[in-house]
Symmetry: C2
Subunit: 112 residues, 2 copies
DNA sequence: AATCGTTATATTTGGTAGGGTATAACGAAA
DNA sequence: TTTCGTTATACCCTACCAAATATAACGATT
């Protein structure tokens, strides 16, 4: 008893990562803040890292996940597309299902 | 189309890792070779890393996973206990089941 | 007691992923 | 045309982790 089973899942498209937990966190933060730089701050990661993550997400997705605007009112910003929002939702669902599935499987170890 | 879902699972006991894919590979190699140093060579990892992995496995397991002998015929060696063998088997099973489960879940992303 | 190939461990060396910093480009609004 | 806070990108630099190296300890066999 006392064992825990943990997991990391991610989705790839031809050797680029589309979505993982970090990327999903970032997308949620973008949705909350309306900008990539604010999202980076709220997650305590550098803007550079956040930008690299978001860039790779948008490059490997079939449709745009965010719309980024440079300049203009407030300097610009980033917001999720409907596709982006649905991706987050689907990923979270899969992740939760996976946890539940694995928790049940763990008994195979504990009963040894 | 074209998306792949990948996963890493591991089992912890009070914040130490008991088993993960790397550790399972190592245990299998120990089983095949009869020694930790040979196992490390066959996996192209340093002996040190292999030793650290094995040490942490044995420290976090309830019962010994390997029996290591120093000195003696052939200098010593390491071999899996029955408990160790059953751990490997259970982990592999869980992992395979997880892959199958996730592959089926992936449709949630692909149909978006 | 000498040999051997291990396990076990400390110390040093090196490669690289990531952070820090700087700056260009941008466009709406005043 | 100036200001502003963004997005976007290049460059250096360092902190960390992993690898390499060295060496002690060990015990069956001869």
């Amino acid at each position: 008893m006392g064992y825990k089973i943990k997991s990391r899942i991610w989705i790839e498209s031809e050797n680029n990562v589309l979505l993982g937990e970090g990327r999903v966190h970032l997308l949620k933060a973008i949705n909350d803040t309306g900008s990539l730089s604010k999202a980076a701050k709220s997650l305590n990661i550098s803007y550079k890292k956040a930008w690299q993550l978001l860039d790779s997400v948008n490059k490997s997705a079939k449709k745009p996940v965010t719309i980024n605007s440079i300049g203009g009112k407030g300097g610009g910003g980033a917001e999720l597309t409907e596709y982006g929002k649905s991706l987050i939702k689907a990923f979270d669902e899969i992740n939760k299902n996976c946890w539940a599935f694995l928790d049940e499987q763990l008994s195979k170890i504990e009963q040894l």
